[in-house]
Structure formats: C-alpha cells, structure tokens
C-alpha cells in the first residue's frame, strides 16, 4: 500500500515539473512535437527507474554515516555524505552513457530518433533531483526508492506529452507577437501547474 501511495504522490502531487520545476530546460526545448516528447519522456522514465535505486544503494552502503561498517567495523564512524553530489552525478552520467550504448546496439532505430536528447538526459535536473529527493526523504527500502523513481519519471512523461500536445494546437492560434514561442509556453506551464495543484488536496 505504501508503494502505491509513493507512486501516486510522485506522479501527481509532487510532480517533478509542476511542483518542483525540475528538468524544465529540456521540457521547454523539446516539447514542440508530441513525437519527440514521447521519446524523451520514455528515456527519462527509464533513466530515473535505474538511477534512483542505484543511488539509493550507493547512499545506503557507501555514503551515509556508518554505512561502510559492512566493510570492517573500523569504518563505522566514516561519514562520506559530503561526497554525495559528485557520486550521484557520476552514477547518473555513467548510467546514461550505458543506456546510450545499449540503445545504440539493440535498437538503432530508436537511437537515431532520440539523437542528441539521450546524452542530454545526464544534465536533466529531474534525474539528479530524483536522487537528491530520495536522499532527503530517506525512503526505507529499495522497493520504495524504485517506485519513487518510476513515479517521478511517469509524472515527467505525462507533463511533457501534455504540453507538447497543447503546443501543437497552439500553432493555429493568434498569439501576441512578443509572447510567441517561449513566453506563452511559460504561461501555459504555469496554468497547467495550477491545475495540478488541485491534486494536493488528496491525502495519502
């Protein structure tokens, strides 16, 4: 039950885009067409699903105060948590690199359609944000961390696909010239975020 709660919460109530503005840059840049939005969204789901549990293990067995005690009782007082930024980003960058290689080898069609977006996921803040929120909220088990990662990814996917669908329709509307493109996208995202705030009333 706890897992379902975390999942729903990560998608709707604590949506990466609408509640925390994470991964906004690629969200705004790559939401011009639905097709590319879906490609990037799926890649983000996958990377979050893999990297959040990986960072959880790293945090639990290497970085946390006393985490190294499985190695030898001498290390029980070692606290490496100040290294977490650099370790997390290294983990994420290498996972993205790995994903890139796997996709290139086994699904070349998908690889060409994603193009530059794949390596860019390494600097998508929602991935590092997911890892840091996982650390801040201290999820109890690996399962909870995994579900949180998956939920955040699905939330991000939902947001970018919704926005790209609206932007495709916007091409036919008459927007004031200075507001075209980026300006109206910001305002749209703001309105969508207000709509998503209505989920906050749900107590989980």
């Amino acid at each position: 039950m706890e897992h379902i709660n975390i999942f729903i919460k990560a998608i709707f109530i604590e949506n990466m885009i609408f509640a925390y503005f994470l991964g906004m840059c690629s969200y705004l840049a790559i939401s011009k067409t639905v097709k590319s939005a879906i490609g990037l969204g799926l890649a983000v789901i996958f990377v979050l699903l893999v990297s959040v549990p990986a960072c959880y293990m790293l945090e639990k067995y290497v970085l946390k105060a006393g985490a190294l005690s499985w190695l030898s009782p001498d290390f029980a007082t070692v606290d490496l948590s100040f290294l977490s930024f650099i370790m997390f980003i290294a983990t994420i960058a290498s996972i993205v690199q790995l994903v890139e290689m796997i996709v290139e080898k086994y699904a070349p069609a998908l690889y060409t359609s994603l193009g530059i977006f794949l390596p860019l996921i390494a600097v998508n803040c929602s991935i590092l944000g997911g890892a840091l929120f996982m650390q801040e909220r201290e999820y109890a088990t690996l399962g909870e961390a995994t579900v949180f990662g998956l939920g955040s990814g699905v939330g991000w996917f939902l947001a970018i696909v919704a926005l790209s669908a609206i932007r495709e329709k916007l091409r036919y509307s008459n927007i004031p010239a200075p507001l075209r493109g980026l300006g109206i996208t910001f305002i749209l995202t703001g309105l969508m975020a207000i709509a998503f705030m209505s989920f906050m009333g749900i107590a989980l």
């Binding site: 503005f21 803040c125 305002i187 703001g190």
Partner: protein, 226 residues
Amino acid sequence: MSTETIAVPAKPKEPKEALFSPKNKRLLYDPLNDNNPITVQVLGICSALAVTVKMKPSIVMAVAVIVVCAFSNVIISFIRNIIPTRIRIIVQLTVVAAMVILVDQFLKAFVFDVSKQLSVFVGLIITNCIIMGRLEAFAMANKPWPSFLDGIGNGFGYGLILVIVSMIRELFGSGELMGFRIIPESIYKLGYFNNSLVIMPPMALIIVGIIIWVQRSGNKKLIESK
C-alpha cells in the same frame, strides 16, 4: 639609407587584447538582455523558479551560480585542449560538481538557514544547464579570461531574472523585501491581503512568462517566428 631603418622588428607583434576590450565587454553585457540565459537561451530554468519565493535565498543562489559558472568556465578553459572529446561531459560534470561541493560546504558553514531553504537546489547547480551550456558553448573554445567574463556575465543575467521574480513574489506575497516590511500595517487595516497565489510555484512561471513578454515587446529582434 642608414642601417637603422633595416633593423625593424622581425614580425609586427599581434597587439595584446586589452582586458576590457569592446569584445570582452560584450561578453559581460550580452547575457543581461540580448542573450539572457533564462529568457533567450532557455537555460537554467529549473532552479530559477523554485528558489524565488523570497529575495534572500534567490540572491544567495544567484551569487552561488555566478561563482560556480565563472570558475568552472576558467578551469575548463585551461584544460580544454587535453580533454578527450568522448568523455568531456563527465569531465565537465566532475569539475562543476567539485565547485558546487565547495559552495555548498561554504553555505552550510556561514549561512546555514539559507542553505536549508535552498535544500536540493544547491546540489542542482551541478545540472544547471547554464553552466553546462556555457562550458560546452564557450569555455571549450575560448581562452580563460574571456571564459571568466562569459561566466560572470551569464551568472548575472541569470541572477537578474531571479532577483526581479523574487522581488515581485516577496512584495506581493508577503509584503516584505529582504525580510523588511514594505507594505505598511495601515493598508492591511483598510482590507488589503497578501496575495498567497504569488507564493505558489505556478505563479513563478507566469511571472517569467510576463517578463519575457515585456522584454520582447521592447526588443523586437528576439520575437520568435511561428
């Protein structure tokens, strides 16, 4: 013909560029308006919006980004010729992460309450696309001093938007600026209320959208075609 005239210097030496030549000054000014990282380059928006409820954390954040951006630009610019291109993203991230750890530890030591308010967003400077974007677009191809100016300029361009947005949000959201009460008590007695919608995250987006609108009505060349 005397011999002296023959003994001219072998090669006319290339004049050394002044530290603040017009070209270098442009590096500083451009990001403030024409090439603003947030409103034109669409970089670094994630953190820009989340920390702007109050002015104090957004100023701290702006300073942190200026420092990280300038110094990681310089470091990458120094080592740009020895970075293998295949692994440059990881090298850049490592340099940036090291800088951010320094800033984070500094904030924790001297302004602990602000560093608590910024929570994960200090760490997220690592993935702030401004820094990666400038490293990729500028520092990898330029000398250290222009890179330094570029870092400072872009940091300020980012900070400018942050300060404007946070000023609007703090003034209308809590009637204060930097923690000092601006809207006097008497106006509240007349029936004025703090606008709690401005505090909400979505309003930050809408305010930035309006800033873009204002900026582009004044600066016609930035208007996007359909």
